[in-house]
């Protein structure tokens, strides 16, 4: 294997910050959910890459990735349900216009 772990971590961090940018920048709630998924994927890549560092022998990184899959599935299901419920209350998916709880 010729590729260093740092290269995978670099790709993972680029992906994570693209996700952060999307969450902070986009207005559409569905796109924000997509960007959260991108961030979770970046975390998965980092976990697998670190579990493949020279000297580590166990599969714990992969086990955590499996749990992240579970959390991601639950998160996107509940998140989309909340988006649809908010859309039913007032017909918009723009997070700027949903300010019922603004102080």
């Amino acid at each position: 294997m010729t590729i260093p772990v740092g290269a995978f971590i670099a790709v993972s961090s680029i992906l994570f910050f693209l996700g952060v940018t999307g969450v902070l920048v986009r207005r559409n709630a569905v796109v924000i959910l997509m960007c959260v998924e991108l961030m979770l994927n970046a975390a998965n890549l980092a976990l697998v890459a670190f579990s493949r560092r020279a000297g580590s022998v166990d599969e714990r990184g992969s086990v955590f990735v499996v749990f992240v899959f579970v959390i991601a599935a639950a998160e996107v299901a509940v998140g989309l349900a909340i988006v649809l419920a908010a859309y039913r209350n007032r017909p918009t998916v723009d997070v700027d216009e949903v300010h019922a709880m603004k102080g």
Binding site: L33, M34, N44, V70
Partner: protein
Amino acid sequence: MSYDFLETILFALLTIGIVGGAVGVVFLNRITGAALLMAFTFLCNAGMFVLLGAETIAAFQVLIYVGAITVLILYGVMFTPQQHRPYALFFQKQTPWAALFVAPIAIFVALFAFSFRDSAHPTPRGGDLVPLATSVFKDFAFPFEVASVLLLAAMIGAIVLVKRDEDE
């Protein structure tokens, strides 16, 4: 003859796919295209897992992310109205502040990432399914059960949130 250079070429192609797909998700105006590019990014990420020698995780990635989550997101796109809008109405109001906030942390994390120089070594033979399953059902048996309860709770919660009242 060594085929090590193939690995590097594959890594470069997958990196281009991941970064390009993610940039598309963040900046594409057409939301269905953004969702499909997200699926493409997930697929390239599965390729990364194969490159790291985690074939089981790659299979899960294709099943759960490329299959289930993308379909769920596309349903969300279908049930909400999507109109095209100029770029001024496309970003949130705090976009410049967000960029200022993200950029320094991104640079710091990228520098940190490049400090890991030791090479990755995939599991030598037989794949990673057996050690993964042993670890899940031996060391992580209780978190596994908790995760199943969490999935059940999320399913019930999603149904309750979206359900319409009878008299509506």
